[in-house]
């Protein structure tokens, strides 16, 4: 990695493929694509050393639009394919682009195990809380009661949160961002790209056709300041249009407080710490659900420095080769007990 093969400085243009983009007008995926195309040339990695792997779904069309190496594979399996690629090609920067159905329903197993192992993959989950490519069925992140084509009387299938799931699986980097906040998304993606180990980013992504407005409260100009909590490492959890609200912890129970009321000051507020190896803290804030109760946190929930699977694998190989020497085929075939017949 890190060798620039091309003499011309890379630009966003270099990462745009010749394929016509086939997402619906107004789809949040466009933003993510544009930002990643903008981010990659700044990372100091040669274009040929990027590989984008995806599964099936709207978001999984992503690799076709990137002028890098890429594979549009089968439903839910991208993390497994990407793991095999990264394990054998640690020199590559391997990205997985997935969706809520692809990663959390059909591919749930690969998703959690990739994070458990801490393979050095960047996993970007475009969560629109709906099945778009099959035209509007509930997904594992659809809200209870939601009416979709497969739940005409309302969804009774309890959703789970991708961030909490990733934390539960032991991911070393977990973050969330929203598709229409380009500055925030750019920063989160940059953090993910430079993290060593599995970097998981959930993007709240609007499906303009089948689930328009799913994140309206968090993304709408009028409400967003009051309904989202921007996580900043080492800073107290303050939010609100007037920056006068905060999160305070009573025992293990969080509560929303107003600064200046009943003597509450910033010193009473919870300080965000993304480096806690214990997942209790990050899990606690991952449970903040949409208003009216709590603001929805965006930003980096956890960023830990911990050995990656691919590093450990290389280390083991080096140890074995140092102690046993490079394997030699003839001795291998002749190993164990042999006997000779003249």
């Amino acid at each position: 990695m890190n060798q620039i093969a091309e003499t011309v400085p890379l630009t966003k243009k270099h990462f745009e493929s010749d394929q016509e983009i086939r997402w619906c007008p107004g789809c949040g995926d466009y933003m993510v694509l544009a930002l990643i195309q903008k981010l990659l040339p700044t990372l100091g990695i040669a274009r040929e050393n990027f590989a984008f792997i995806s599964g099936i779904g709207c978001s999984s069309r992503f690799p076709y639009y990137m002028n890098t190496y890429g594979m549009h594979s089968i439903h839910g399996r991208a993390p497994a394919i990407a793991s095999g690629l990264k394990m054998t090609r640690p020199d590559l920067s391997v990205w997985v682009v997935t969706g809520d159905g692809d990663a959390l329903a059909i591919g749930g197993n690969h998703f959690i195990h990739a994070m458990r192992r801490n393979v050095d993959l960047k996993i970007i989950l475009l969560n629109n809380r709906i099945y778009g490519l099959t035209k509007g069925q509930m997904s594992p992140t659809s809200e209870l009661g939601k009416k979709t084509k497969s739940t005409p009387l309302g969804n009774i299938d309890r959703p789970f949160g991708p961030v909490a799931l990733a934390l539960g699986a032991g991911a070393s980097f977990v973050a969330r961002t929203v598709d229409n906040d380009l500055v925030h998304m750019g920063e989160v993606l940059r953090r993910a790209a430079t993290h060593r180990g599995t970097a998981f980013v959930e993007v709240f992504q609007n499906c303009a056709v089948f689930n328009d407005g799913a994140y309206a409260a968090i993304t709408g100009k009028a409400t967003r300041q009051d309904s989202r909590l921007q996580l900043e490492h080492g800073k107290p959890m303050v939010f609100g249009k007037d920056r006068d609200k905060g999160i305070r912890l009573r025992g293990l129970t969080p509560e929303v407080v107003t600064l200046g009321e009943a003597g509450v000051t910033e010193a009473d507020l919870l300080i965000h710490d993304e480096t806690q190896s214990n997942s209790v803290f990050a899990y606690l804030i991952s449970q903040f659900e949409a208003p009216p109760c709590f603001p929805v946190p965006i930003g980096v929930f956890r960023a830990l420095t911990t050995p990656t699977y691919d590093e450990l694998n290389i280390e083991l190989n080096e140890q074995v080769r140092a102690s046993k020497g490079r394997g030699e085929l003839s001795s291998l075939l002749n190993s164990g007990e042999t006997w000779t017949i003249d």
């Binding site: 394929q19 050393n49 690799p63 890429g70 394990m87 590559l92 074995v320 164990g336 006997w339 017949i341």
Partner: protein
């Protein structure tokens, strides 16, 4: 049949009841007659905790060192440790060894060593009339008899067999009285007592086995010495007792000169893959999920990190093949190894590999099916799944190993096809091949085939799906500047590989994928016919039935039958010369451990009637079963 082991016939008086009598260390060895044999079939059976697999393996090792050809058949229950004494907990290990080439582990058992009543009950029927039965009399307690479902002691009437009752439990315990081992630990050494006994009876030296035990248990010296004591006690007992009036010796074999080792199919498969990697210079990757009876391939390769080998125990069968697809995309010789149920799970990903046109090897060590079926038993019922079992027009080359040693060559052949044709390849083995051992004439590395691997690096004129003379597309490693491209499971343009929904392009792509796989037959060597080039009967087989068919055909030919044998390694595509060969025979017999799957393929391909011979009992063919059918047909 070639086996000429002949022990005195049945109606011998039952051997004197010497159960429990300790061997006299000082007694001079009985002056025993040594009978020379051409071949013998011995089966060790006991509880799954009795160590019979170890006893059998060690006995095989001893005869291998004497230069005999042999074949083994381990037969164990799928329970890890079934309740002691039960019928379903019986574990067995059969070996046939001979002064001549051995093809199978043998039909009828000459010598049965049964460690308890359940073992006797489940195996006695396989012993030939007049055969030897050695039982551990100490295990024939009321409780064990009742667990085995015996209403009365079967040892009371063993007419037709030569029965030797020896209280192996007590003799072992006595021998270890001063070892300091607990009674329970001492009891665990009785398999070595049985081994010592058999080594003596079959005139094998003890010294090597003692070294073997000390090496094997080097970390537990007390246990090693206890086993050595038990082994010696068994040997001394057989030497001293007057119970055995005859000892046996299998005649020396005149084998092909060279260096040999004992090898199981799973180990041979793993070594073949390493050879493919070493001979091509391309690193090897195995993504695998543990499944009986394929797991040993994972074990074997996981220990070889000093080669260019990466192994990955995936979270499931799907991840196993998908990780291999990722590794293949990255430029490794990638494979996954599994058995029937895992194969079913890998199906969709295999289709992806066909679309991506990446080299990949999928090993299916078949077992009894459907579903979980008979996990530890032999069957060949996944052939049609291998050839056809995917959505869409999805051709995959299929090859099959015929024996443990052949699995080595097949592993290399699988990667040759995968790499030269840029395609996934299915390599069929089975539980019989995977776990059975036979002597293997170790090849010279220089004689092994090399694999031609060319990664494309030239950007000029590059198209992801442009094809060479074999219709293979270029293999490009990510990281190659200027060749960035995208591939995927959607239908793609004939040349560029960009997504294409064009109707005529789809037909063209479906056809070219089929032609590519069909074209593999162009480079296959001519089929070997064992027997006359034209005759009354041709027996066609594939996979692990090789030994039984070859043996049966030899026997039938010796009896004057006009019969030949062709054994297929390549099952998809079928070799080009097979059609002509079929035309030269009046009748075609196809023995298979399924309900006639190769028969179906042959009928479909050649519009030729064939006679299936089907067995699906979780057991290999007996030679006699095939001989009988041959006799009916010609």
């Amino acid at each position: 049949m070639l086996r000429t082991a002949r022990v005195a016939d049945s109606e011998e008086p039952r051997a004197a009841g010497l159960a429990g009598k300790p061997p006299s260390e000082t007694a001079a060895p009985a002056a025993r007659r040594i009978e020379e044999l051409d071949s013998v079939v011995i089966r060790f059976v006991g509880d799954s905790g009795d160590g019979m697999q170890l006893t059998g393996t060690e006995f095989s090792r001893a005869v291998a060192k004497a230069g005999h050809d042999y074949s083994t058949h381990p037969d164990y229950p799928s329970e890890i440790r079934a309740p002691a004494g039960t019928l379903f907990g019986v574990s067995g290990f059969q070996i046939q060894y001979s002064s001549r080439p051995v093809f199978t582990s043998g039909d009828a058992v000459d010598v049965l060593v049964a460690m308890n009543p359940a073992a006797l009950k489940t195996n006695l029927a396989d012993v030939r009339r007049g055969g030897i039965v050695i039982v551990n009399a100490g295990a024939f307690t009321e409780g064990n008899l009742s667990k085995a479902g015996y209403l009365e002691d079967p040892l009371g009437d063993m007419s037709g067999y030569r029965i030797y009752e020896i209280d192996i439990s007590e003799l072992t315990e006595n021998a270890l009285a001063n070892s300091g081992l607990s009674k329970k630990d001492a009891a665990r050494c009785k398999n070595y007592f049985a081994l010592g006994l058999m080594l003596c009876l079959y005139s094998r030296p003890l010294g090597r086995e003692i070294d073997e035990i000390r090496a094997k248990f080097s970390k537990k010296p007390a246990f090693a010495e206890a086993n050595v004591t038990a082994l010696r006690a068994g040997y001394a007992y057989a030497e001293a007792t007057e119970m055995f009036e005859t000892g046996y010796q299998v005649r020396q074999r005149s084998a092909v000169p060279g260096t040999y080792r004992s090898i199981t199919g799973n180990v041979a498969t793993a070594l073949g893959f390493v050879a493919a990697s070493e001979r091509s210079g391309v690193p090897l990757f195995l993504g695998s999920y543990p499944i009986t009876p394929a797991t040993d391939i994972l074990h074997e390769l996981s220990a070889l990190r000093n080669f260019k080998v990466t192994t990955f125990q995936a979270e499931d069968e799907i991840a196993a093949i998908c990780s291999a697809i990722g590794a293949a995309y990255g430029g490794s010789l990638a494979l996954t190894a599994t058995s029937g149920p895992g194969m079913a799970l890998k199906t969709e990903a295999l289709g992806l590999a066909v679309m991506l046109e990446l080299p990949l090897v999928v090993v299916n060590v078949q077992r009894g099916g459907p579903s979980t079926g008979l996990p530890t038993k032999i069957e060949q019922s996944d052939l049609l799944q291998a050839v056809y079992g995917r959505n869409g027009e999805c051709p995959v080359p299929v090859i099959a190993a015929r024996s443990p040693a052949d699995a080595f060559e097949c592993a290399i052949e699988a990667f040759r096809i995968a790499v030269h044709y840029m395609t996934p390849v299915i390599l069929l083995s089975d539980g019989g091949i995977g776990n059975a051992a036979e002597p293997w004439l170790i090849p010279d590395v220089e004689d092994l085939p090399t694999l031609d691997v060319n990664f494309r690096t030239e950007a000029e004129g590059f198209h992801a799906y442009a094809r060479d003379a074999r219709l293979a597309r270029p293999w490009v490693r990510p990281g190659t500047p200027g060749l960035e491209h995208r591939i995927g499971g959607l239908e793609k343009d004939f040349l560029t590989g960009a997504i294409s929904q064009d109707p005529l392009n789809h037909q063209r792509m479906v056809e070219v994928r089929a032609q590519k796989v069909d074209g593999i037959a162009e480079e296959l060597p001519k089929l070997q016919i064992a027997g006359p080039e034209a005759a009354d009967l041709l027996v066609i087989g594939w996979g692990s039935t090789y030994g039984a068919i070859a043996h049966a055909c030899e026997e039938a030919a010796a009896a004057g039958k006009s019969v030949s044998h062709v054994h297929l390694r390549h099952l998809n595509p079928l070799p080009r010369d097979l059609g002509d060969i079929l035309d030269r025979f009046k009748t075609i017999l196809v023995p298979e451990l399924n309900l006639g799957q190769l028969s179906k393929l042959l009928r479909e391909r050649y519009l030729r009637e064939v006679v299936p011979l089907c067995k699906v009992q979780g057991r290999p063919f007996k030679v006699a079963e095939i001989v009988e059918r041959i006799a009916e047909l010609c």
